[in-house]
Symmetry: C2
Subunit: 203 residues, 2 copies
């Protein structure tokens, strides 16, 4: 396989666009920057920009795609779906200190500052819900699987919001990490054992 000057240039262009976009958004806010400006600042035509990123949102969100379904389908044997997801998010939380803080923080602030992008994140999670439901389904039309998938994505969305909110407020990454770890456990315990003790009828 050749080095491929062409492919290198392509990835380079893509990165240049994404970085330019994130920088401009961080400076002036997502809604205050037009895609034309991004394209021009990246030295590229608008059409070319949209050849790399399907929508304006993708400029920010494409780099951050998760796939919960894979965590379930590729889990270690003997581990339950819930166990696998809990372990994955615990591991992320505990390893949060080692992430490139600057890049993450800029992205988080841009996202948190724009309703449109927050909506985009919700949409992405809604999309994952279907894949996760498919991965959890034990028989066609398994209602419990769909409910579980919905609840898991809802929980992850909530935890991510808390995490983002703390980062956006200036908390150091390490601290946000270990607080997240605790919250992951609270959340998965509730998923497994329910809210009857906290919010249900006394019975």
């Amino acid at each position: 396989m050749m080095a491929g000057l062409r492919e290198r240039k392509k990835e380079q262009t893509r990165r240049r666009i994404a970085e330019t976009a994130l920088r401009l958004f961080a400076e002036r806010g997502y809604d205050e920057v037009t895609v034309n400006e991004v394209a021009e600042a990246a030295g590229v035509a608008k059409v070319t920009l949209f050849a790399y990123f399907a929508t304006k949102e993708c400029l920010v969100l494409d780099e951050v795609k998760e796939d919960m379904a894979r965590i379930v389908t590729e889990r270690a044997p003997g581990l339950s779906p819930l166990g696998a997801l809990r372990a994955h998010y615990r591991a992320f939380a505990e390893g949060a200190g080692e992430i490139d803080a600057d890049s993450l923080l800029a992205r988080v602030r841009v996202i948190s500052g724009s309703p449109a992008l927050l909506a985009g994140v919700h949409q992405a999670h809604a999309g994952q819900r279907y894949e996760l439901a498919a991965a959890l389904e034990r028989e066609p039309g398994d209602l419990t699987a769909h409910l579980l998938a919905a609840q898991i994505t809802a929980v992850i969305t909530t935890l991510q919001e808390q995490f983002f909110h703390r980062l956006a407020c200036g908390a150091p990454l390490a601290e946000a990490g270990w607080r997240l770890a605790g919250e992951v456990d609270v959340a998965f315990d509730l998923l497994e054992h329910g809210f009857a003790a906290s919010y249900g009828d006394k019975s």
Copy 2:
């Protein structure tokens, strides 16, 4: 309070726009109809249309706003939040047979047929999540309340999807209703007691 010729005309105009829109969308599909066409068919200027409906989505979704938060805050004394919500959705499911089927069905088919509108529904539910979380919060920053709110909205979204899907596939309203009633109970039982029995680690 006067009858108000002006206000009557206003509501009349609003309804004319909404009905025209729903009819056109049902005939040709949401994405194939332009807001200009809706405005023209309703005998009104585009600007006027947007004075009544903030976005194109609102033409379909504004009539269908729920408010889960109110169900919680105005629940009967002695009833838990989860109990109140379960009762409310059971009551809806059991009374489904008495709804105006034609109007509902048209709307459901339009919504189900357009990714953009489905996304809009998700957005609306996400918005409710915040209000519901606020209604459930027992102290500032109550993580459990936010998790519960997220899971409830996720569950309701899922149940609504099942319900819509069945209606869109031609199931009679009464049948879809009683199936929904059973699903409501399954869903709230899982919310109260968790998924450990179905999906957790054997322990």
